[in-house]
Structure formats: C-alpha cells, structure tokens
C-alpha cells in the first residue's frame, strides 16, 4: 500500500488542487506497477517521520554490553565495575567520565565499588571458613558455605542467596543491591549475583537490568502496547524538540506511538497540545455541553447561572445584579411589566446579549472541535467492527468466489489505512482548536477537509453489501491509495510548518 502511494509523492503543494478524484480514480491500478522507478525515494524519510529502530531484548542487551565495553576501555576498569558505575550514573556516559576524571576514588565509593578494586582483584569465591558463624542465621556447623565481597562481610551462602533473591524478586531491585552487612554500601555486582543465585533469579535480574537500561536512556523507550517486549531507539529527538516535531514511531508489534510522550500516534498535533487537549476534554467536555444547554451568564459578572424555577426576575447571587432571564436586560428597565417580558430592544438587553453571545461562542467553538474529535474516535471503532464482520464474510466469499486469501487482503489494507487516517483526523481537530485563525490555518483546514472527505468516501465503500464489495476491488484500492496520499500530504505540510515555525497558537506552549 505504501508503495502504491509513493507514486503521488511528486505532488507539490501548489498543484495539489488541480488533482481531482477523476484523474486518480480513473487510473487503472495496474498502471501503478511502474512504482519501481520512484522506490529509491521511499527510503528517504518524509518530513513527518523520524528515524528509529526497534530493539529486541537481545538487542538491548547488546547495546548495554557495547556501552560497558566502551567505558571499560576508557577507564581501564573491569566490566563488572563499569556496569555498577553506569547503573549508578543512570547510563549517562558523559556524567560518569566527567566525574570519574575529577575524583575517581569518590566516584567509586559513591557507586559502591571497593577502592582497591581492579589492581589486585580477587575472583569471588564461595568457600567454607573454619570456626565461622553466620551473623544472619547464627548457623555455625562445619563446612558451611559462605560468601563475601571485598569488604569481607561474610555470611553463609543460604542467607546471602535469600537476601539477594529477595531484593531481586520481591523488591525488583537491580541497580543497587548492597552488601547485607550493616551500613556497608558495597554493591553486589553482576558477577557476584550470577555466582550466588539460581538461574531463574539471575534471569529476572537481567530482565530488570534491561528495564532500567531502557528507562534511564533518553533515546530509548519501551513500546507501551500490552505484552510487547520491544524497545524503540530514536536518537534524533530530545525533549526540547517536541515543540517542533511529533516523533511517531512504529514498533515491530505494529503499535504506532509517540516517542515523545508514549501516547498512541497523535500526528500531526504536538505533545504539549495533546496534553492540554486531553486535560481540557477530561475537565470540560461534558460540563461544557450541559452548561451550553442549561445556563445563561449574569450580564454583569458573567457568573454562570442555572434557572431552576421561579420567575424571570433574576438576582445574581454573586454581584446582586437584577436582570430579566428572557431578554438578559436590566430589570430596572422593565418597570411595572413584571413577569412578562416583551421588551427586546432596550440598550442594556442588547449589550448583554452580545456579551452572552461571545461567551457562548467560545464554548461552541470548543464543542465544534470536540465533537469532531470524538466522532472520529467513535467512527474508528465502528469502522474496525465493520471490518471484522466483513472479514468473516470475506472468508466465506473466498470459498464461493474462488478468490485467494492474498486477493482479499486489499480490504485489510483499506481498513488499516482508514484506522490510521481517522486517528490522524482526530488529532487535526485538537491541533486546529489551538491554532490562530490565519491563512496558514486555512490551508491546514483545507487539507483536513480533503482528507476527511476522502476518508468518509472510503468508509462508505466499506458499508456496501458483501456481494457488491467483491466487485469494487479496484475502486477500494484506488480510494485507499488516495486517502493515504491525502494523509501524507497533510502530515507533510504540518510537519514542515512545525519545522519552519509557521503555526501560530492561541495558547502558550509550556
């Protein structure tokens, strides 16, 4: 699908409006077979894409090892000690090297490494000591196996094992497992732990290490999808770039999400606005709906008032202003025509209604965007349900029409594109809500409208009865490519705009 759409990449923004559906829909899908010639371009990143790499557990391990190796070579310490140091410095090479060169002894001590570490390093050994009694369990039988770090706080192997196992399994600790001796801050390193604990616990330890490694690294992030074990590496984006990039990444499990904030794909809206929007929606959407339907504002102090009975002579509880509920005019002008307002044109009434209109307009504006945002979210769900039902029917269709599995995949593709576009559209509304009204914004809204129209058309095709759908294969595929193309145009333009600082927001970005 993405290959087919690459055909249209040559479009520039200026000529896109010449493009009508005829010329596109009319082209035979077969013509697109010539996409080889533009293929080299598809490896080039689009403006809205960021370079990223999916790392498996083994890959994470490997990166850890290579970082340890690199630092070990610079500092001339053992790999075990370097690992403890890196864990202490949260895998921040620069900070470690800087502080280590300043005062190696202090750094080693703070990180929990014995100072005479590498010069005359003994290997850790499990051994029995004559006349030994374990301070933890008070066992003193002969031949008792014992273990100690360089600090020589010696305990029996069973206690040591139980202690370290508890740290790893119960407390989920991997960064800083200290010697069990009282106020000893020496850290039990990888080598020691491997020697002491069972394989099962050691595996758990390695998993925890991987976890902290990814969490500590600025350029690594776990895929947030349930049960997914991959991590994503994205080197080019740091926190301060998030005002101008929406770093969307795709995991090997298929989940698309934002590397900046971890939420699901929210292109083209930037993280800060996404947060604002979500918060606003949580706080406001239902309330705003209700307020809009059931209340008016006091014409003087703008307090929101619900009329829950009684006559039209209102006295604002906040500012004590008296006004008429019907015309929002001052009650004083009503004279004696109590409880029956027929005065529409009085001055105070007109002004008050103006103000009221303004406050209503801002609410209405929010609801306009919110409803469209919510609608796409809902529609995406419905589209998906519809697709699942269609898929079932398709399987039946295969057996009756003789179409192969490969041949009906166009529907799966169409559905995937539809989902993605609805996701994008959803966030265009959040983005637009915060945009100032200017020519740039109008262009954005044009792109949004084009995408929306295309999406609705594709969505409509989906609703056709199954018998008809089989005959519409080419139309569906064309439409899919077109929709996807519209999405790319929109994202490309928005991303460029972000990069160039073309968008003006109604709110401060912080």
């Amino acid at each position: 699908m993405s290959d087919a759409s690459d055909d249209f990449d040559d479009y520039d923004q200026g000529s896109e409006f010449d493009f009508d559906e005829e010329s596109f829909g009319g082209s035979d899908y077969g013509d697109n077979e010539g996409f080889e010639e533009v293929k080299p371009e598809s490896t080039k990143l689009k403006a809205y894409e960021v370079e990223h790499e999916v790392l498996s557990t083994a890959g994470i391990q490997q990166r850890q090892d290579s970082q340890i190796g690199q630092v070990a070579a610079i500092l001339g310490l053992s790999r075990e000690s370097v690992m403890v140091l890196l864990l202490y410095f949260k895998w921040n090479n620069d900070r470690l090297l800087e502080q280590y060169t300043e005062d190696p002894e202090v750094v080693l001590k703070k990180a929990g490494i014995s100072a005479d570490d590498d010069s005359n390093k003994k290997e850790y050994k499990i051994m029995s000591v004559v006349g030994f009694m374990c301070d933890i369990c008070c066992e003193d039988r002969q031949g008792l196996e014992t273990f100690a770090l360089e600090c020589d706080h010696r305990f029996c192997l069973d206690c040591y094992k139980q202690y370290v196992t508890q740290k790893i399994v119960d407390e989920g600790e991997s960064r800083n497992i200290q010697c069990p001796g009282d106020s000893c801050s020496l850290v039990v390193n990888n080598e020691g732990i491997k020697l002491i604990v069972e394989d099962r616990v050691y595996k758990r330890y390695l998993t925890l290490l991987n976890r902290t490694f990814v969490q500590d690294h600025e350029h690594l992030r776990w895929c947030p999808a349930p049960n997914c074990e991959y991590a994503i590496r994205c080197d080019d984006v740091s926190a301060k770039d998030l005002k101008t990039v929406v770093p969307t990444v795709q995991c090997a499990c298929g989940h698309r999400f934002c590397f900046g904030c971890g939420l699901s794909d929210h292109q083209p809206c930037i993280c800060i606005l996404v947060k604002k929007w979500i918060k606003k929606c949580e706080d406001d959407s239902e309330t705003a709906n209700w307020i809009s339907a059931n209340t008016k504002e006091c014409p003087k102090c703008m307090a929101t008032i619900e009329k829950n009975g009684g006559c039209n002579h209102m006295t604002c509880r906040k500012c004590k202003y008296e006004f008429c509920w019907i015309c929002i005019g001052s009650w004083a002008e009503h004279g004696t025509s109590w409880y029956n307002c027929s005065r529409y044109d009085e001055k105070s009434g007109v002004e008050a209604r103006d103000n009221q209109a303004k406050s209503r307009a801002s609410l209405e504006r929010y609801l306009h965007y919110y409803n469209r945002y919510a609608n796409h979210e809902q529609s995406a769900k419905l589209d998906k349900d519809l697709y699942l039902r269609t898929e079932k029917k398709m399987t039946q269709l295969q057996s009756t029409s003789g179409m192969s599995w490969i041949e009906v995949q166009y529907l799966a593709q169409a559905s995937a594109v539809l989902q993605q576009c609805r996701q994008t559209l959803k966030w265009t509304y959040a983005f637009a809500f915060y945009l100032e009204q200017n020519n740039q914004t109008h262009l954005f809204e044009d792109n949004q409208k084009d995408l929306e129209m295309a999406v609705e058309q594709l969505s409509e095709l989906f609703e056709k009865p199954i018998q008809e759908l089989a005959g519409l294969k080419v139309t569906v595929m064309d439409k899919t490519a077109y929709v996807n193309n519209r999405r790319q145009i929109l994202l490309e333009d928005t991303a460029k705009g972000l990069h160039e600082g073309r968008w003006r927001y109604q709110v401060e970005l912080k």
Partner: protein, 151 residues
Amino acid sequence: MALPKRIIKETERLVSDPVPGITAVPHDDNLRYFDVTVDGPSQSPYEGGVFKLELFLPEEYPMVAPKVRFLTKIYHPNIDKLGRICLDVLKTNWSPALQIRTILLSVQALLGAPNPDDPLANDVAQRWKEDERAAISTAREWTKNYAHDAA
C-alpha cells in the same frame, strides 16, 4: 513452626548479656513478640522516663526489619500519636546483620537526638523548630506524666 536459630540465639543473649537501660522479654505464647522497655537517655527531655514498646519479628526476619512501636505516649518529632517510629534502620537502611539489640539502641539514640527535619509528627516537629525550648519542656512534662509509672 520451629523458631529459627537466629531468634533463639538473640533471645538468649538479650537475657544473658542485657543492654544497659533496655529490656526485651518475649511472650511465652509467642516467642516472636517482645515486651520492651527503653530508659530515656540522660541529658535528654526523656531522662528519667521508662518507655514501653512492643517489638515483633515478622516471618521473614532477619531479611526484613522487626516491627517496633511505642506504647507509652511520647512527645517526639519522629514518633507519631500511634507510637510509630520514623527511623532509617527500621525502613530502608535495614540490614539482616542488624539485631534486636542494635535496633533498640538506635531507638534509644533517637530519643537523645530528635530530628525535626525528617518528621513523622508534623505538629510536634513544627513546634520543635519554631520554639525548641517550649517543645522540650512539653516533652519533659509528658515524660513525667506518662513514662514514670511504668516498669
């Protein structure tokens, strides 16, 4: 369930070689539950008082710290109304090499050196910082009222 060797040894030693100013006696029906008394350290507002505490050794002891609580009412920034104690060795700095006796010594030391910067009882700590003299005199008064008929 048999009592671990460690607990038996510790209990024996608490009897045979008691710590001055501290007693810890296990209950007959539950050898993990101790009645404890701690004398207020000299030159502290708790001087002359005898404070009752309870101490319980959980199943995982000594991998986890014992649970210790004051039973006698006490005016101290790191001990709250319920007698719970804010002390590093009872929480994060617990080491399985520590013992009942060392813990109780730490508790006694805490009475001699209140730390209002890491408070558990906020109201007490605040008073301690704002008007130390008044706070100390309240502590002395409470010691007289609540910690004298003990033992």
